[in-house]
């Protein structure tokens, strides 16, 4: 039930990523009055990326709260509100600001349920952004999903299509555990088919975005698009790539990744976080271990360069993985027979 074409509906529209996310939040707010949005410039402004435009008009300022510039404070308040009967959707404008809220997220939100022996729970959704090449420099371009993926008690979502974004956001809001939802700010205008009928996508299910037999490209968030682009090019050359999107790093659909790599015998992991000690390392380690006896070549990893993201376009463009770079890696991998 996870790919559009398998949906039991024949009514579809084209939506942008931003529209799909807004629709998911609006539907959940209509469905459950305990859902509310809190963050900076989320109301009249609808966020700087206009993702939430229209929400305050429908739900009012009691359920779409503009805050002072106090990330630790309002994230902590989200935790407390979640512990006492609400389902907050906390907006952290740029993923880079996670540095300000890691105590609230990792020490409070993630641990309350466990520390209380299951008596208290934190049905909290934290929306934030990732992704470079917006010429926003080092403090507004990071993809820090590795930080939260490492903390037990947090679920982590990385949608790559409008369809996934809507279905996963609805599941995130309904989930009784804290969920961190990463949106690639460069993809808000990306369009895709979304059914008219309501649907959700369970957290923890990988999706094969493109089937193939020669090599598995495990890609997250916007890197899925990069992988699909590379796969298209490589198909011309007779290399059939299977593009697998974990969609959530926690829970991680290990079996799906390993199964694919066992079939193709080769794998490249591509993620936009910094390459070292990033999400890509876990994904690579998982398949390298799980598919060891099937692998015909070492598992390769592509990620952002291990440098702060530079402002200058000529430099910034060198830091992120590209379809060309990925295609070259795959060719080199497949020559090795």
């Amino acid at each position: 039930m996870s790919s559009p074409d398998s949906m039991a509906t024949d009514e579809w529209r084209e939506l942008t990523m931003a529209q799909a996310i807004r629709e998911a939040i609006a539907e959940e707010m209509r469905r459950d009055e305990s859902v509310f949005v809190i963050g900076e410039d989320v109301a009249e402004a609808g966020t700087p990326f206009k993702v939430l435009s229209g929400l305050v008009e429908e739900f009012g300022t009691d359920r779409v709260l503009d805050t002072p510039i106090s990330e630790p404070g309002f994230t902590g308040m989200g935790v407390g509100a979640a512990m006492t009967g609400r389902r907050p959707v906390v907006d952290i404008m740029f993923g880079d600001f996670l540095g300000l809220v890691m105590d609230q997220v990792a020490n409070q939100a993630a641990k309350v349920h466990y520390m209380s022996g299951g008596k208290l729970s934190v049905p909290l959704t934290i929306r934030t952004t990732m992704g470079a090449t917006r010429r926003s420099a080092a403090q507004h371009s990071q993809s820090l999903h590795a930080w939260v993926s490492h903390i037990p008690g947090l679920k982590v979502v990385l949608p790559s299509t409008p369809y996934d974004a809507k279905g996963l956001m609805k599941s995130a809001i309904r989930d009784n555990s804290p969920v961190v939802f990463f949106e690639d700010k460069m993809n808000y205008q990306q369009r895709g088919r979304v059914p008219v009928a309501e649907y959700t996508i369970p957290l923890g299910l990988a999706d094969i975005k493109r089937p193939g037999k020669d090599v598995t490209l495990i890609a997250t968030s916007s890197m899925v698009l990069v992988a699909l682009e590379a796969a298209e090019v490589l198909a011309q050359e007779g290399i059939e790539c299977e593009v697998v999107d974990p969609r959530t790093t926690v829970p991680l659909d290990r079996d799906a990744l390993i199964e694919s790599v066992r079939r193709t015998t080769r794998a490249v992991v591509i993620d936009e976080g910094h390459r070292s000690y990033g999400v890509g390392a876990e994904l690579a380690a998982v398949v390298a271990e799980g598919a060891f006896y099937y692998l015909d070549a070492p598992v390769r990893r592509l990620g952002a360069m291990d440098v702060p993201i530079p402002f200058s376009p000529v430099l910034e463009d060198l830091t992120v993985p590209t379809a060309e770079g990925l295609a070259a890696t795959v060719r080199e991998l497949c020559r090795r027979k």
């Binding site: 106090s70 404070g73 308040m77 407390g80 020490n107 409070q108 349920h113 008596k119």
Partner: protein, 331 residues
């Protein structure tokens, strides 16, 4: 800025059962003595931060609260937990890491929570529960109930920036949150005078939050000030700040025995002899003829038996099953 709020009906009403308040303070004192004993006998894993000497604050504050009001607590939270109605036996069980404990043994002293009585949990991060309590206040406002949320913090938490972030929002949105600062003069091994510039009350007042200072050793004064603050917050008046001067008799934690380098024996003696909240309450109860020595001694014996039994229960209780390690990670 209005420092003194108008006295509420709550406070001008019949008033609380002071014998019950006394009983609670004594329960906390006896509880902490046993925690220290368990530690010294190496029967308790890890450390604990005792609130002996600060009973007047926990009890004075919680006496002004309803069962459905929320509190968040600190690393020094046994008193808050008991004052809000928790049972000593299940608390001891938690402190010993037993399955019967409030958190199934997973939380321990610094994370006891008792949501049945609105205790959203102790916290091992200084200031860590400020966001939680203020968020509970937001939840109350959104749900339209007349509960209040109380955030107990130590004077050390005045150093944490998040306090000012949440006080700002609580004031802007008129949230029913009461910040109760237990000023026991020290943060770990450092005197508050070395870490607090200006006057603590001014910090709350600067955010438009009514703030009052009260003698934390006088349980009735604490109750009075708290009842006033609660009436203000319940009535939609927004947040309030209560600064309670108090003192911890023991070290920062049970293992902190050589304290000479940061505070004097004389100072400790002075507080124990002249400012003890339980002694002061007993003297008042007797003077008012609400109780006589004999009845209070009887009470002490009764509580002693009760708490010894609670310890026995906890010591005899089984540890959690190994498979519990992997449960409760996700809700």
């Amino acid at each position: 800025m209005d420092e003194s709020l108008a006295p509420p009906d709550a406070a001008s009403g019949p008033g609380p059962n002071w014998l019950r308040a006394y009983r609670l303070m004594l329960t906390i004192r006896l509880f902490e003595d046993r925690v220290n004993d368990l530690y010294q006998r190496k029967l308790m894993p890890g450390l604990a931060h005792l609130s002996s000497g600060e009973e007047g604050v926990a009890v004075g504050v919680c006496t002004a609260l309803r069962d459905d009001d929320y509190i968040t607590s600190t690393h020094r939270g046994h008193g808050h937990c008991l004052a809000k109605g928790a049972s000593p036996d299940l608390m001891f069980a938690e402190l010993l890491g037993k399955a019967a404990g409030y958190c199934g043994g997973k939380g321990g002293s610094m994370h006891i929570a008792d949501q049945a009585r609105g205790n959203l949990g102790a916290n091992a991060i200084v200031g860590g529960s400020l966001g939680i309590a203020t968020g509970a206040g937001l939840s109350i406002k959104q749900r339209g109930t007349d509960q209040v949320a109380v955030s107990f913090i130590g004077d050390g938490a005045l150093g944490q920036g998040v306090l000012y972030e949440v006080m700002n929002m609580a004031s802007l949105w008129k949230l029913p949150v009461i910040y109760v600062c237990e000023n026991n003069l020290y943060g770990e091994y450092t005197p508050g005078a070395e870490t607090v510039a200006g006057k603590p009350l001014d910090r709350a007042l600067a955010f438009g939050i009514p703030a009052t200072e009260v003698d934390g050793q006088d349980v009735r004064a604490v109750y009075q000030a708290m009842a006033t603050a609660v009436a203000h917050s319940r009535g939609g008046g927004g947040p309030a700040f209560l600064l309670c001067s108090t003192y911890r008799y023991f070290g920062h934690h049970v293992g902190d025995v050589d304290r000479g380098y940061y505070r004097s024996r004389e100072e400790e003696q002075f507080w124990r002899e002249h400012r003890d909240p339980i002694t002061l309450a007993r003297e008042w109860l007797e003077a008012e003829g609400m109780a006589d020595r004999a009845s209070l001694e009887g009470l002490a014996e009764e509580l002693t038996r009760e708490l010894d039994a609670a310890v026995e229960f906890a010591l005899a209780a089984p540890f959690p099953d190994p498979d519990q390690v992997a449960t409760d990670v996700f809700a």
